[in-house]
Symmetry: none
Subunit: 195 residues, 4 copies
DNA sequence: AATGAATGAGTCTTCATTCAT
DNA sequence: TATGAATGAAGACTCATTCAT
């Protein structure tokens, strides 16, 4: 009977904001910037989102869920931990790297709304279980307690994210490919398996 | 050698701002917050610093330089790369971890003013040179190009920083000690040397 | 005689708004508050009322008319001014006091739309005519001109309304009963008649 | 060493706001109206007052205190309750009536910030004590309990205020003088004393 | 040099009303 | 007629920085 909320507009706001937040930062992006960039009237921003904060939250949550969903789908194809690790390295990470804006926001100013630790926990558990299955006889596994392995995963994952983000925005002289390669070598070396 | 009154004020502003920036974030800290916390008149802030941005810059630059200076001093005591690595792990990192506020600001909202990449570059070169000297016969070094080793150092270092920061502010279930331990194991394992 | 569905909605809007206006004030009640409270779609509000302003107007006008109608009906039963005064005091006032929301709105923020003076005028004339009939030999009447008696009625009536309203919303330490009693005493005393 | 806050500006804001609040109502007066009318920059409003609400509060509190102070000063000149009543009627009330804007705001929309009941309580106590001293042998006092006399004072005072306000803004056909006169007659009649 | 009032562009958000469906 | 998304002017307030004193 009345216009129904347009998914298109919602997505437009989300995508525009994502780019702006990643480029200029959350605090340096004003609602009025989003308005200008989307071409929508101010009011419309607020018919689709409660406030500016909710926009970042949704960007992060939906972005992360998306990645996760695709990862889970890929995981359905196999039970072999080696295969799973391969999927993680060759599907998940590249996809994540693709979404530099998401990484930037995830690590950036909006940390308060980002619940990075929750995302990390999920992922850590997952990776940890794969590593455990893989690491029957590796040096790495022998010398590290469970908690230390978890720490290792967290450190490594955060390092990767931050490095990729930095590689994009500043001239640190390394590329995504460099990062991908050392990840693989590390896994191979640490796990004693060739991925 | 007594500090002048002005130097006291400069330091007061710096320390107060550092705490505030680390606790509430750069953008959520107003100059007026700094004024309230220091008890100084607003004008004073601007006689010591050009603007809010310069305050963060100085916090980071001086903080980093401090760490660096002490590292260099420690390095004077030896030429042995193994010893140097030890210093890095047992002096530099703990000191850095001590200064969580600095890490938080370094990785946080003020990224634009932080020149993280420059700091990283210095450090990377240094660590890289040590690793190279150490790694005569390690598997790690054989399979990684120079650039990849640099990438590894960056990833690892950023990972450590971010993990320590996160461990402080959220319940991710790992401690600074866990992190320290896996760093050591990694070095040992990767380099084939016992530190 | 069954109320039509639309009449139900109109009344719902009116009653809900009345409570809201009395509780939170006219300006602090948004149309969207009315929408939430009634459960009706915004559009509906505007099919029944031209705008927010008209809602208050109708609340007041219909509320007042209601009281008046009942008063007039009661008055039909007698011609005796003393009886009429009794009706005024024992039927009309208690009924009015019953409707605190109406009083609150009448005296409150919506004064611009309320035409309080018109309501007052009607009532003043009525009361005045009764008083005149009653006051053949009272001290009060002798010493007051017509205009002054009107002023007295207005002052008294407004005072009663305001006091009742204040007694409801704040702890001024007097009750509706106290007010009713002094009204009666005043009339008795001023008019020299026992009501 | 720096400009000090200007009492002139504070007063300008207060007076301008008072007129605007009385004329258009608190909610229909925007801070920007005050800005336009005073010619001050927005920021200045907020260097002198925390927010819009505080402006009304100060208008009312200082206005009321002013009246009170002058009343107390006048009261110093006598101990005779009859004299005091005279002062109340011939000094205080006329002064109050002079300040119609204050009355309008006091009774108007800003009721939430106005603490009308507190003002009323003070005054009621004062008047009550005078009446008590006066009323040795009056009919009024005999037939009314303490609480009822308080109620009477409240009703009467509120009625006067509201009537004066209404007389100013709408054509209810009575004047301040009419009101003053009936007040006197009422006192005389009720107290049995000639003021 | 020290002070803190002055400034006004800019912030996010609200809201009564309209109108496409 | 019923609906609720769309609209954008207007709202209160902030804040980094300047500059008169």
């Amino acid at each position: 009977m009345a216009r129904s909320k347009s998914e298109d507009k919602r997505v437009l706001i989300l995508q525009t904001s994502k780019t702006l937040f990643a480029d200029k930062g959350f605090f340096n992006t004003s609602v009025s910037d989003i308005v200008k960039e989307t071409g929508l009237p101010v009011g419309s921003i607020y018919t689709y989102f409660k406030n500016k904060e909710e926009i970042v939250k949704v960007i992060i949550d939906e972005g992360w869920e998306d990645l996760n969903t695709r990862l889970q789908e890929n995981f359905l194809s196999t039970k072999d931990p080696k295969e799973k690790m391969k999927i993680l390295l060759e599907e998940f990470l590249p996809e994540l790297f693709e979404d530099l804006d998401l990484i930037t926001i995830l690590l950036g100013e909006a940390v308060d709304y980002t619940k990075l630790e929750e995302k990390l926990e999920e992922l850590t558990k997952l990776i940890f279980s794969i590593l455990k299955a893989l690491s029957g006889n590796s040096y790495f596994a022998e010398s590290l307690s469970k908690k230390e392995m978890e720490a290792a995963v967290i450190v490594y994952f955060l390092g990767i994210l931050h490095a990729v983000r930095l590689a994009k925005s500043t001239p640190i002289g390394i590329s995504q490919d460099d990062i991908m390669r050392i990840v693989k070598v590390t896994i191979n070396s640490a796990m004693g398996v060739e991925i």
